[in-house]
């Protein structure tokens, strides 16, 4: 069973501060994703990565940066946090199998509050 670990579980930040959300996966998956979940929107993709050194913009990348320094680690960075970024953030990993999409494995989520 793939393990995806997010840290911290909860974070309170001030407007204008820098926030880094971390994600670690132990199943050697190539692909990793950062989503945010807000009421009425389901999950929305922020950034994703196909492997170490790769970062790609998702559907809502503005205000976020991502870093994939290794196969195992994928970070989401808010350089200047804003209250609109208050949300629950999920990291996921997966391995595309040939021509088909992948089964995603999710972390437990990080609840971020920006005051």
């Amino acid at each position: 069973e793939a393990a995806v670990t997010q840290s911290p579980r909860n974070k309170v930040a001030v407007t204008g501060g820098k926030v880094t959300l971390s994600c670690n996966q132990t199943n050697n998956h190539n692909n990793m994703y950062w989503y945010r979940q807000d009421t009425g929107h389901g999950l929305r993709l922020i950034h994703y990565s196909y492997g170490a050194g790769s970062t790609e913009k998702g559907d809502i990348p503005d205000g976020y940066k991502a870093s994939r320094p290794s196969q195992e680690n994928f970070s989401l960075i808010l350089e200047l946090a804003t209250p609109s970024q208050t949300s629950v953030y999920f990291c996921a990993s997966g391995e595309t199998g040939g021509s088909s999409a992948e089964t995603l494995y999710f972390g437990s989520g990080t609840r971020l509050t920006v005051l």
């Binding site: 009425g40 929107h41 389901g42 999950l43 929305r44 993709l45 994703y48 998702g58 629950v88 999920f90 595309t96 088909s100 999409a101 992948e102 089964t103 995603l104 494995y105 999710f106 437990s108 989520g109 609840r111």
Partner: protein, 110 residues
């Protein structure tokens, strides 16, 4: 853009009853996945389907193999632990990324 519409948005059932959740797609999709999110926010993957049906215990999911424009999730003999929010996510052709529905909040009552 491509859309995934889930229905109903919320559903309240008594234990032992059956239910059906549905996802409609505005375009042909390559595959669909179903997830359940529990009250603590944790997400687990229930099914991945590229076609046909899959069954796991009291859960059964189907993906319209002809036009690939909808998927269903059936829950048989609902139990309290089935409560949660169910999401479907679909992959459009030519793009491995997933498009998410807004979820169905399911409450199972004793």
């Amino acid at each position: 853009g491509d859309q995934v519409e889930q229905s109903p948005s919320a559903l309240s059932l008594h234990e032992g009853t059956d239910s059906a959740l549905r996802c409609n797609f505005t375009t042909t999709m390559r595959s669909v996945q179903w997830f359940r999110q529990n009250s603590r926010g944790s997400l687990i993957s229930l099914f991945y389907l590229a076609s046909g049906t899959k069954e796991n215990g009291r859960l059964k999911s189907a993906f319209d193999s002809k036009e690939r424009r909808y998927s269903t999730l059936h829950i048989r003999d609902a139990q309290l632990e089935d409560s949660g929010t169910y999401f479907c996510a679909a992959e459009a052709r030519g793009n491995y990324q997933l498009i998410w529905g807004s979820g169905t909040k399911l409450i199972i009552k004793p």
